[in-house]
Symmetry: C2
Subunit: 259 residues, 2 copies
């Protein structure tokens, strides 16, 4: 399997590489990528979903040829998709080296959660003021989906729905600038969690989400803001962000001439 240059299988979609999301959750991940609708956008969303579900680990190389073959498109399209993902900091492009799933640093992890702690409470406040009954039901659906995934021990999917819950709040706030920021931060959070999550208990099944729902039901903006702020800080504290030898470093240390 070492063909010198894979032929991009002209116009023939080969295999759907990663699971496409459920209807109630795949509806609107878009709006972060400023691409005209088309194959490049599809690839972006597909890869983003894979990242949110932890099906693609930080550091994995995304070769243009390989991705192109998977989706049955040429490198031209793949490059557009990868560059869009790079703009959202989900992928890092190294000159003449290729694209890799980003590996957020500890510093970046802190910054992302500091940003979330500033923005998401404000967004929750807006959402509480704008919330309709239908939207409330939609939020509840996200939590239930998360619960079901957790019960099936499908952590990736649970995390995906947890992110969907946060994103949905931003959408309800109906503020596109904030929504775009929140979406971006949550995607990056998924990578951060993949690298640094330490807690034994699962991602977000904390009662914070349910407490937030309560605030939304009451249309209590101040309460929603306050709970969301605590929640984000709690998430931040659930990360193990101490400086320590990274896996590859420890590997070289472990294999050092001690034996």
């Amino acid at each position: 399997m070492k063909l010198s240059r894979r032929s991009p299988a002209r116009h023939q979609k080969t295999t759907k590489p990663v699971t496409t999301a459920d209807p109630e959750s795949s509806n609107n991940l878009h709006a972060v990528f400023a691409l005209p609708p088309g194959r490049a956008l599809d690839i972006c969303l597909n890869i983003q979903t894979a990242l949110l579900e932890h099906k693609l680990a930080p550091g994995v190389k995304l070769s243009e040829d390989e991705v192109g073959e998977i989706y049955g498109v040429s490198r031209t399209v793949v490059r557009a998709a990868l560059q869009a993902l790079a703009h959202s900091n989900l992928v890092t492009i190294k000159k003449n080296r290729g694209a890799f799933v980003s590996e957020p640093t500890i510093r970046e992890a802190h910054e992302v959660f500091q940003a979330r702690a500033l923005i998401e409470p404000a967004v929750a406040r807006l959402a509480a003021l704008a919330m309709t009954d239908k939207q409330l039901a939609g939020l509840k659906a996200h939590l239930e989906a998360e619960h079901v995934a957790l019960h099936k021990e499908d952590m990736g999917r649970a995390l995906f729905h947890s992110g969907g819950f946060h994103t949905a709040i931003a959408e309800i706030a109906d503020h596109r600038v904030f929504t775009s920021m929140v979406r971006s931060l949550i995607s990056r959070s998924s990578l951060i969690i993949a690298l640094y999550w330490k807690r034994a208990d699962t991602a977000c099944e904390s009662h914070s989400h349910h407490a937030l729902m309560k605030a939304f039901e009451l249309r209590d903006a101040a309460m929603a803001e306050s709970i969301q702020k605590s929640h984000i800080i709690d998430l931040h504290s659930g990360l193990d962000l101490r400086e320590k030898p990274r896996s590859d470093t420890s590997l070289s240390a472990a294999l050092g001439r001690t034996g």
Copy 2:
């Protein structure tokens, strides 16, 4: 001058199209565009600078051939640059139509300044805590450059330096996530101001900036935060964001069959 397909003047830089910024200000506009260093990034930065200086008006079409000819590169490179700009919301790409300098809506204008009112005060607080004497001097330089430009009635350049002042504060705060957000918001603000600025007095020569400097000199975080918040709100109020017939609409109305 209607060649059916312009030849991209292989490897021959023709003309530098827009002024490249002054040394003290052009240093670091980057870090918003996730492109590997290269020609595409250069084009991005050049166009961004032109936008910040109001040398390129909202709505102007950025034809791939045209831009490619100007910079002496092929459409491949231009497309990467335009897509990067599109991701920052500075350019809007319409499928099969091309790229245009974005024309922010009134709603977008409100949202951008709401976001700035949330984020920049927090950033100012961080900056006040981290400020060194050298950085303080750097900030002062921005204000002086703005003042000089205003004296020469070069509004575009004044606005550029005003934005540079805000960006520099974010850099001093040394928070990459916030810095990237602020940079993006300020770029969009420049387009918004181009469309909606109403005040007779100039952009930011308000004493707000000098008051901010005072707070920074005192390392008074709370004061810096408070002043910055007022300043952003003041800028927001300097826009004319009432719904009204847009130029083209009023044109068709004016040319209607009224005799």
